[in-house]
């Protein structure tokens, strides 16, 4: 008789990472944001880990390596490969970057309808529902910020998506935790401190929460949106 073997912590974390990436891509699609590039996926993952405790969600214990292309999660690539090969994610504009350490490849990723349906099933658990809600709120807040802060003539343009994508990349790189770790010059891009310690992102969100609570704004989606509005205004100020 085969031995019963418990799922290892590492295997479990890989499964959780796969769910996080699939949810992220589906949430991005549901919020109508431009399709995710390799670069943006890593930055989105970074920001979602930096902000998740604001929703009471423990971030995954994955370290982002510092690369010239921004933060890089090794597991994100392996996960993306699995999702693409299983038909849950569609890959466009594939371009290989053979590097011995990073296994990097570029491309544009969108969930397939099968991926959306799998995500719908995974959302039926309590944890899955809470995680998807957080990631959807994050993406909806990005969409709202872009809509309100990007000039109307740009939003009306048929080529709005690439422009939105560029603005989104700039905005995500203004995240408070991102700015904090960029200055540290370490090999990894992790927020130092105890896991329970609030990241600069969570501290910023809490400050906005307190401020907007006074006017009855309780929905965390609106707080995320206000936070990203601040980030985008910083991008604009820096460009002036």
């Amino acid at each position: 008789m085969a031995k019963l073997k418990a799922v290892t912590v590492a295997d479990h974390e890989r499964l959780q990472f796969t769910r996080w990436v699939l949810f992220m891509l589906v949430a991005n699609e549901a919020a109508g944001l431009p399709p995710v590039t390799r670069h943006r996926l890593h930055v989105l993952l970074f920001m979602s880990f930096a902000a998740s405790r604001y929703y009471g969600i423990t971030p995954l214990r994955q370290r982002a390596r510092r690369t010239e292309h921004g933060p890089y999660y090794r597991w994100a690539h392996i996960t993306l490969g699995s999702l693409v090969l299983s038909g849950l994610v569609d890959l466009h504009d594939f371009q290989a970057h053979p590097q011995p350490r990073d296994l990097q490849f570029d491309g544009v990723f969108r969930p397939t309808l099968a991926g959306v349906k799998v995500a719908q099933e995974l959302r039926k658990t309590v944890t899955g529902q809470a995680l998807y809600r957080f990631l959807l709120d994050l993406c909806l807040a990005s969409a709202r910020t872009l809509e309100e802060e990007v000039p109307t003539d740009v939003n009306r343009s048929p080529d709005v998506r690439p422009e939105q994508g560029r603005t989104l990349d700039q905005m995500l790189e203004e995240d408070l935790t991102y700015r904090h770790v960029v200055r540290l010059h370490n090999d990894t891009m992790d927020h130092e401190g105890t896991p329970e310690e609030a990241t600069p992102t969570v501290s910023g969100l809490s400050m906005i929460d307190t401020r907007l609570h006074r006017v009855g704004r309780l929905n965390r989606k609106d707080i995320l949106s206000a936070y990203q509005t601040v980030l985008l205004r910083r991008v604009k100020r820096a460009a002036e």
């Binding site: 309808l113 700015r179 704004r217 989606k221 949106s225 910083r234």
Partner: protein
């Protein structure tokens, strides 16, 4: 840039407005009203000159991911034309599949001949488990279908939402009057259209469909949002506890005030027989306490609105008026007359009871006879 937020940055975001709230399909409904407001503003001259064809109608169909799902909707239409939310083009019409924030809008079906044609299309081709909205521009009316509502009943009890978007000065008293009017027009009598969707009907007197507060909340939200220009109406999305919280928050811009907005909050509670008489007092009290908890620095007033659908309403819990006054909560009671059993169904029920009782007697008597026979045989 600093890794902390400055006071100037925090002040600047106070003017941001709340996004449509609720579940994704409910946020889609809020977005439909926002889009209609923008369309009317952008095309006001054409509307005033009556150059908008009376037939021009739209069906907005909700999909989480329209660009991916479009291929499975070929029965509804095979077009694949992108529509831009911000253009609010005067000739917008047809069947348009949209995601919740209208960032993805795809026209899959051509223009419809009339509102009737749109209703016919919806009732024959769209599944009842879909949320969709029909808008007719010349009438300035919107008809919303929430997923799960039976399509035949929906058409029979069609509730139009008037897209008036008035530019009137607002106050808590004015919004309260709107809630009163909403109750009078839509809920007070069982024949009123929203009431018809809440009560199970004459064959189940005094019984409501599940989640009555949520039904009132959804319709009231859309009605208020469509009544005034730039009115912010939203609900609390945070995890729902088991205390039956069902709120509605309304805010409007204030100029030259200490805060950028003024607001009022409503907690909605429905009383009905199935809750059991022991629960009603606590239900009203919880409404008052919840309303008190909603008060914010910009609140003009907070309300606990009790929609009373009980069969016997002699007990009005007048002691709670004192509690509400102490907490500065405006307690408002609205009667919802339940549908009474029709004479025909009452007669049928009586007949059934009679048959059941005579059947039982007959069974008992036949058993008795058999037993008697048995004894006699001995």
């Amino acid at each position: 840039m600093s890794t902390q937020l400055s006071e100037v940055e925090l002040q600047a975001i106070e003017a941001t407005t709340p996004a449509p709230s609720g579940k994704p399909s409910e946020r889609f409904l809020g977005m439909c009203v926002e889009w209609a407001e923008e369309w009317i503003r952008a095309n006001s001259i054409a509307l005033a000159k009556a150059t908008i064809p009376p037939t021009q109608s739209i069906i907005f169909l909700f999909s989480e991911t329209p660009e991916l799902e479009r291929e499975t909707l070929t029965e509804l239409g095979t077009l694949n034309e992108r529509v831009y939310r911000v253009t609010v083009a005067q000739d917008t019409q047809g069947v348009i599949v949209c995601n919740e924030n209208f960032q993805q809008m795809i026209r899959i079906g051509p223009g419809l001949a009339s509102v009737d044609a749109a209703l016919e299309f919806a009732s024959t081709k769209i599944s009842a488990d879909r949320t969709f909205v029909i808008i007719n521009f010349a009438q300035r009316r919107l008809y919303l279908h929430r997923k799960g509502d039976d399509l035949t009943t929906w058409i029979d009890t069609l509730v139009p939402t008037e897209l008036s978007f008035q530019d009137a000065p607002l106050s808590a008293d004015r919004i309260e009057k709107d809630v009163q009017d909403f109750h009078h027009d839509h809920l007070a009598k069982p024949a009123n259209l929203v009431a018809q969707t809440m009560w199970m009907g004459k064959s189940h007197p005094y019984k409501l469909h599940p989640g009555p507060e949520k039904r009132i909340q959804a319709m009231l939200l859309v009605t208020l949002k469509a009544s005034y220009r730039k009115l912010q109406v939203w609900v609390d999305e945070e995890p729902q506890t088991r205390d039956g919280r069902c709120d509605l928050r309304v805010a409007w811009p204030v100029f030259n005030g200490a805060l950028p907005t003024a607001s009022t909050m409503f907690e909605l509670k429905v009383l009905y027989d199935a809750q059991g008489p022991g629960k009603h007092h606590g239900w009203v009290l919880s409404g008052i306490k919840q309303a008190e908890g909603y008060r914010r620095p910009d609140s003009e007033a907070v309300y606990a609105c009790i929609f009373d659908g009980r069969s016997v309403t002699t007990e009005q819990f007048l002691d709670l008026d004192v509690v509400a006054n102490d907490k500065d909560v405006r307690l408002r009671r609205y009667r919802m007359d339940p549908p009474t059993p029709s004479q025909l169904s009452a007669a049928k029920t009586a007949a059934k009871k009679a048959v059941a009782s005579s059947g039982a007697k007959a069974t008992r008597s036949s058993k008795k006879t058999a037993a008697t026979r048995k004894r006699s045989a001995k």
